[in-house]
Amino acid sequence: MLKMDRVEKGYEKFRLQCSLEVKPGFVTGLVGPNGAGKSTAFKAALGLIHTDGGKVEIFGKDSAKLTNRDKAEIGVVLADSGFSEYLSIKDISRVMSALYPGFEKTKFLKQCEQFHLPVNKRVKTFSTGMKAKLKLLLALSHKAKMLVLDEPTAGLDVAAREDLLDILREYMEEDTERAILISSHISGDLEGLCDDLYLIQDGQIVMHEETDILLDQYGVLKVDEEQFRNLDTQYILRRRKETFGYRLLTDQKQYYVENYPKMVIENANIDEVVLMMMKGEEL
């Protein structure tokens, strides 16, 4: 669906060097701290910035050669941009009808009603949460083959987030060939939705893993100095100094469970993995 192969983009104080792939039927997450390059990667994928090197392919085509018809197959949410807020949902739905052959106007307006979004008021008057809901409903409204969602749940309360994640799950269930690339700073959203995750830091992809593997096989070891000295560290990815000794991230939790039965070993969640990958040191 989407393939970024050694895509590079340089700014004065930042350089993106990114390779990632979104496969059909997959929900792929892009995680990383603020300023890591998530939005730049999204913009490079969508052709909003000119890259210095590498290749972006969408639907098997060079992204520079995408036609407007191809672009109509992509639903997009950008964190910091949307339709003019001086328009109303009614205006926007008329524009969408004319732009997208697959726009499902009735369904879209029904969903707006379901999420309590007034159709005749200017978007400018909406709360942050209402604007986030509208952006996502628009991306979902035209039977896109792929969604590219940059922080789509930002500003939403827990209940609204869960509703929208359900809609994303339904979207994937409707057609097994569909795909989503999503970024979010809320790891719970990604854990429950994504099939695989990329971690980006300082413009570089530092980890790619399937979510199931990450949750099953990754773990955090809590060891004191002596335990650390006697530890087989071949499967330790990162180390972080703590008051009790070290916190260690491994992608072979079972190995340590079997060989060090007395050691404190915890399951890792996405937040923990991200934190350790970013803040921890390599051995």
């Binding site: 913009k43 407007n68 339709f83 807020e85 524009v95 969408m96 732009l99």
Partner: protein, 218 residues
Amino acid sequence: MKGLLLKDFCISKLQKTFIILIVIMGAVFTYLWKSPSYMVSFLTFIATLFVLTTISYDEFDNGYSFLFTLPVSRKLYVTEKYVFALLLGAGIWCITTALAAVYVAVTGAAELNTDWIMSYIIYLGFVLLIVAVTVPVQLKFGGEKGRIAMIIVLGGMFLAGWVIVKGLKKIGMDVEAVLDKTSSMGIAVFLGIWFVIFCIILFISFGVSVKIMERKEF
């Protein structure tokens, strides 16, 4: 294209109080000056300026980023801006010129002949010339810087025109005689020349605008 035009008409609709005010001013000045020329030239000019307003709205709040994720290429976006300006400018020109013709016919304020219509066609030409200059400037510099750039460019155009006329006179070419000769050519030739000149100018302006948008990053 249709979607973008709809969007721009929706945005223009936001200025309805301003539009009503301009129309009232047009009617009042026509009545006071006993001439509809102000109504035609001013309303046509204001109508074409709406294209600049829509560009400002598109640019506002980082709007371009999302706009170009829609099934809209940069070339299509630029094309739509020119089509919008032409539709609005030519549309308002047709309506106001028709009203002016009715006014002149009813009041007898002027003679309805080819000279009369030609003077109105020249208005339209100049307004479109302004569009050809202002659209690429607005696309290049955006809202704030655009205003300053616009004043410099329009001032520069008038200065360049003055220098050219002076220069031609200096080398012995009588510009006024050339213009007189043009207007005595007959309406078909006159319109033909104007049409070709404006097509060339608009074509160059369009090409420059496409290049500007293609180089932009959002």
